[in-house]
Amino acid sequence: MSSKIALFFRESWLLMVSSLFFGGLLAITNAAWSPKVAENEIKKFNRLAGGLLTGATQFESVKDISMNLGKGKTAAVDIRKGLDASGNCLGWAFVCEGSGFVDTIKLVVTTDAGFTKMYGFGVLQCSETPGFGDKLNIKDGFYQSQFKGVPTEPFKLVKGGDPKALDSNIVAITGATVTSRAVVNALNEYMQQIKPQLVKQGLITQ
């Protein structure tokens, strides 16, 4: 038995020592740079949300809002109240995620104070196909513009129609149906689940 243990350590000591060394190196690096990474994420969120919620000077986090991901899994939603200089609520901003064609798409979605109308969305993360799916990332492009000022009722993806009409029909990006559908589905899912929780906390009225 002891000879087997000795053999195990003789064969694997370098691997164990290296794992400890690299693990420590990564822990130190992460500890040093993670505040900067978090700061970058907050800056980007504020820039995107601030651009859509005109006049908002600060964002106040709301706790205990979560998404049911199915199969008993839940995830916390990063939802913030956009406040003006006097502390009045101008609207809501939250991070919304959906599975795109290439990778996860992360959006910053903004709504009015009553959660009845969308102000639009900005893209936090998008690795969709250049020239097709990444058109979603064009600020004030035809796809993003379709969500500005529309009611927060469930959206429906259509392949043809007038993209300038302010209704729940969202015209898909040509050649990027999967990406377009991912955004619509994610928005519908988040809107449906977040609104009742905000009502329950007394932050908005039904």
């Binding site: 290296s18 990564l26 992460n30 980007k44 990778d103």
Partner: protein, 212 residues
């Protein structure tokens, strides 16, 4: 490990021409096709690979006499993964835009064949100096190829090379800026990557063709 000593100069020249990755070794083709949509992306990816190659070659070279043959691939992967994670964290902290643009391709450097190939073919058989020079030269060779392909694709797709909002080099004056050049959107698509790489490979093969 078997000793297969090489000289510093041979390692340097090898990485930049004789064994230049992508064009001669045909390694690292996946990131080459994926990130050459812009010079800035290509340059960032190339510099990350330079960092990982130098560090992983140095570490593998230092531990080469301790490596057990059946554990060496695991040790290489562990070493490479650590340095790739550091490069990824650095980009997230100090170059967030490039980190987002390159997405999964930075973590995927872990499975880039160039790095594991150099660890096995050079670092595991040579001293630290030669291994570091090999890593530097291979990384620079890879970076040069990425920048070359990216510049062709970006110029044909947009007419200019964009480094930032304020630093744009206009090569072919595009129609949307009042010029004459109609951008070829297809150069940003996979087809543009395959055509550019194929033509470049053909040209290099023609240049290096040995007479019978």
């Amino acid at each position: 490990m078997a000793e297969n000593q090489t000289t510093v100069w041979k390692a340097f020249r090898g990485g930049l021409w004789d064994e230049i990755p992508v064009l001669r070794l045909m390694l690292g083709l996946c990131p080459t096709l994926a990130v050459t949509t812009g010079v800035k992306s290509g340059l960032t990816m190339g510099l990350c690979v330079v960092f990982v190659l130098i560090c992983s070659n140095a570490v593998v070279s230092l531990m080469r006499n301790l490596l057990k043959p059946h554990l060496r691939i695991m040790m290489f992967t562990l070493t490479i993964a650590a340095f790739v994670t550091i490069a990824d964290l650095y980009l997230k902290a100090f170059q967030p835009e490039m980190s987002e643009k390159l997405g999964a391709y930075i973590p995927l450097i872990i499975v880039n064949c160039i790095i594991i190939c150099r660890a096995e073919a050079c670092a595991a058989k040579n001293g630290v100096l030669v291994s570091v020079v090999d890593g530097l030269a291979m990384g620079l060779g890879f970076t040069l190829v990425l920048c070359f392909l990216a510049s062709i694709r970006e110029v044909l797709a947009t007419g200019c090379i964009t480094f930032s909002e304020t630093f744009v080099i206009t090569v072919l004056n595009p129609v949307d800026k009042g010029g004459w050049f109609t951008p070829w959107g297809a150069m940003l698509m996979p087809v543009g990557a395959f055509v550019t790489l194929g033509l470049t490979l053909g040209a290099v093969n023609q240049l290096t063709k040995k007479k019978a």
